[in-house]
């Protein structure tokens, strides 16, 4: 271990144990234990080992590992002098959601191959694990990363690998400062209203700054979903104040709220929350800076949001309330291209996004974007990008 990392970690571990029975661990890259200050390392170590398949190899970012039982660990990779992965430093486990535990216990209870007595032993185990608010665990992630790398990151840089339930804030004597929450919220919404593209520097405070009351009736996942839905509503209104058309803002709001309900794990919810805020900010920024009339801006927004739907001049005109002839003429005058060309352009941008981000078959993408045949889609794509969809996927796609 590098001398600085060792010194930093030693102090950090001591500081944590001043206030909590939260333990530190160091594993080699094969997850053999190198160090732990946990007095019950055999038992607690098994909990971590049961989660290690979710840790992506060779990732430098701080990670929050969450289990479906509501347990969390902060994890950070250390590299040696030549850049090779050396150790995983870990803080945890911590109970962040007692409700998740209750749900998981119920799931186990319903299994025919598990006896009641085995369900009972869970209580003994969970009694040994400290309860720590999720915002604190996220801060520990950032601090652990600093100890190992001396690099200061923000909470928005944390990765949430693998499946797991959303942890919930637990009462630990810590009382939220309602004025701090209000001020923080206003600052975040101001970023949306202003269409401020420097939002990333500020965003980190959302997670650590807001410590709301339980909004989920004890259900950790519901709690965080409600929190994100409430934030979507606030962002929607801030975007309208910032100049985004109400129609576009509400369409986006509906889409993101449906997305929240579809989220099953913390990683999806965090990603959706980030994309939602970024989307609103970029659209407000665009509406302030592109010099388009409100009508054409609204038309562009409508096309972007409905890019995977059947779109025509008639349907768009009807949806936004202008005559097809007037809209078509005004669109061409302001945008310099026809509405049909713009739809095709937006579909190509969407196709690029889909090709980059997953393994969806090209035929499915062609169908989703309303091209009659994959070959027609391929021809249009090649005209737009200069290469075929499969070449684009090979060049730009990420490994999933």
């Amino acid at each position: 271990m590098a001398e600085n990392a060792e010194r930093n970690l030693r102090l950090f571990r001591e500081l944590i144990t001043c206030t909590r029975n939260l333990y530190s661990w160091t594993y080699d890259v094969h997850f053999s234990l190198v160090y732990s200050n946990c007095p019950d390392a055999d038992l607690m170590g098994m909990l971590f080992i049961s989660m290690t398949d979710n840790i992506p190899p060779d990732v430098d970012a701080p990670m929050l590992l969450s289990s479906e039982f509501g347990l969390s660990w902060a994890v950070n990779l250390e590299r040696d002098g030549s850049g090779l992965p050396l150790y995983y430093h870990v803080i945890g486990p911590a109970v962040a959601s007692k409700f998740s535990i209750a749900k998981a216990k119920q799931a186990i209870f319903n299994r025919s191959d598990v006896s009641d007595s085995l369900v009972g032993v869970l209580d003994g185990l969970l009694a040994k694990i400290p309860s720590v608010p999720i915002s604190r665990i996220l801060e520990y992630c950032i601090m652990l990363h600093y100890c190992v790398t001396e690099e200061k990151l923000s909470i928005s840089d944390i990765l949430y690998p693998g499946p797991g339930a959303v942890p919930r804030e637990e009462q630990d004597g810590h009382t939220a400062n309602p004025h701090g929450t209000w001020l923080m919220e206003q600052r975040l919404l101001k970023l949306v209203e202003d269409g401020n593209l420097n939002f990333r520097q500020e965003k980190t405070r959302l997670v650590s700054g807001l410590v709301p009351a339980d909004l989920g009736g004890g259900d950790g996942m519901r709690h965080l979903k409600n929190l994100v839905i409430a934030f979507i509503s606030c962002c929607t209104r801030a975007a309208i104040r910032g100049g985004l058309s109400p129609e576009t803002a509400y369409l986006l709001s509906d889409r993101y709220i449906r997305g929240v309900e579809a989220c099953a794990v913390i990683a999806d919810l965090v990603e959706l929350n980030d994309s939602m805020q970024e989307d609103f900010i970029r659209r407000v920024h665009q509406s302030k800076s592109d010099g388009l009339s409100p009508q054409i801006r609204q038309c562009c927004d409508y096309i972007q949001i409905h890019v995977e739907d059947e779109l025509s001049l008639t349907s768009i005109s009807a949806a936004i309330g202008y005559s097809p002839t007037w809209l078509s003429g005004k669109f061409k005058k302001e945008m310099g291209i026809s509405l049909t060309q713009y739809i095709s352009q937006q579909r190509m941008e969407r196709a690029k996004e889909l090709l980059r981000s997953g393994n969806r078959p090209i035929q499915d993408i062609a169908e989703a974007l309303h091209y009659k045949t994959p070959s027609h889609f391929g021809t249009v794509f090649r005209q737009y990008t200069g290469i075929s969809p499969s070449e684009y996927r090979m060049e730009r796609g990420k490994v999933t």
């Binding site: 094969h30 997850f31 053999s32 234990l33 390392a41 055999d42 038992l43 170590g45 098994m46 909990l47 971590f48 080992i49 049961s50 989660m51 290690t52 398949d53 979710n54 289990s67 479906e68 039982f69 998981a104 186990i108 191959d113 598990v114 006896s115 007595s117 085995l118 032993v121 869970l122 003994g124 185990l125 040994k128």
Partner: protein, 80 residues
């Protein structure tokens, strides 16, 4: 039939189980059957260690005899 040794690293045992080719099952005297290659069952397995008598009386069952070589440092062969 195998039982788990007491004086070994059980996290290391779980880590080795992940690399096994066949199923590795923890079968308790109460009839619990935990497939130790599943994360949820590994969690339950860990919980069993809060009541050592459950572990002492449980069997480890392997479907691939070759996996014994990887796990033998953690297992005791017993009659049955």
């Amino acid at each position: 039939m195998y039982r788990l040794k007491e004086d070994v690293s059980h996290p290391a045992f779980l880590q080795k189980v992940k690399a096994c080719r066949g199923s590795v099952t923890f079968a308790s005297a109460e009839g619990d059957m935990l497939n130790l290659k599943s994360a949820l069952s590994q969690f339950m397995f860990a919980a069993c260690f809060t009541r050592p008598e459950i572990v002492c009386n449980a069997e480890i069952r392997l479907t691939e005899q070759a996996d014994y070589e990887a796990l033998k440092e953690f297992l005791l062969e017993t009659e049955g």
